[in-house]
Amino acid sequence: MAKAELNHTLFLAIIEPLVTTMTKSELIEVLAHEKSDLSFKDVEAAVKALLEHMSESLADGERIEIRGFGSFSLHYRPPRTGRNPKTGAAVELAGKYVPHFKPGKELRNRVNEAAANERKPVRRSSRSATQ
C-alpha cells in the first residue's frame, strides 16, 4: 500500500468512530485528504461552488439529478390559514415551493443494508448451538 493511501486509511480509521455527524468543513477535510494532489483551498472553493450551484438550480426551479445518490426538486405547498402562536390570530399564508430530496436506489440500499447488518444478532449460530 502506498504511504499516502495508508495515511488516508489511518486517518479515516481514527476519525470515523469518533463522529456521528459530518459537517461541511469535515467533508472538505476528508475530500482534501483523499484528493491529495489538489490544494485544500481548491477543494474548499469547489465544495462551496457545488453547493452554490445546487442552491441556484433549485431556486430557479430546476431539478438536480445525481444517479445513485438521488434527486432534488421543488414541492408546492398550497396557501393555507395559519395562526400566530402568541395571539391566536388567523394569518393567511401564501403558497410556496420547498426543496425536496428523493434518495436514489444505491444510497437507499447502502444505508439500509448497513443498518440491517448492525441489527443482525452477531452470535446467533453459536447461541443456538449451545441451547
Binding site: 457545488l50 438550480s57 433549485l58 445518490f69 434518495p103 444510497l107 444505508v111
Partner: protein, 102 residues
C-alpha cells in the same frame, strides 16, 4: 432540463479553473463521501444548504397495491433531507420573483 454531475464539473472548470479530470473526480467524491457517511450512520450537515438525516423505521403492516394481499414492510433505515433556512428562503424568494409577485 435537470442539473447533473457533468454540469457541476463544467462549473468547477469555468469558475475555479480546476482541470476537467480533477473536477469530474471531485464531484464524484463529493457525493460518494456523503453516501459513505450516511452508510456509516452519520448524518451530514451542510450549513446554508441542508441536513441529510437518518431515520430508523420499525416494521409496519403493508399491502400489495395490486392484489390487496397483506405483507409486512420490514424495518429499515431511510435518509431524509431537511433543507436549511437559507436555502428555503432563497427558493421561496426566487420563485415569487419568477412568478412576478415579489
Amino acid at each position: 432540463m435537470a442539473l447533473t454531475k457533468a454540469d457541476m464539473s463544467e462549473r468547477l472548470f469555468d469558475k475555479i479553473g480546476m482541470n476537467k479530470r480533477d473536477a469530474k473526480e471531485l464531484v464524484e467524491a463529493f457525493f460518494e463521501e456523503i453516501r459513505r457517511s450516511l452508510e456509516q450512520g452519520e448524518q451530514v450537515k451542510l450549513s446554508g444548504f441542508g441536513n441529510f438525516d437518518l431515520r430508523d423505521k420499525n416494521e409496519r403492516p403493508g399491502r400489495n397495491p395490486k392484489t390487496g394481499e397483506e405483507i409486512p414492510i420490514s424495518a429499515r433505515r431511510v435518509v431524509t433531507f431537511r433543507p436549511g433556512q437559507k436555502l428555503k428562503n432563497r427558493v421561496d424568494t426566487r420563485q415569487h420573483e419568477l412568478a412576478g409577485d415579489a
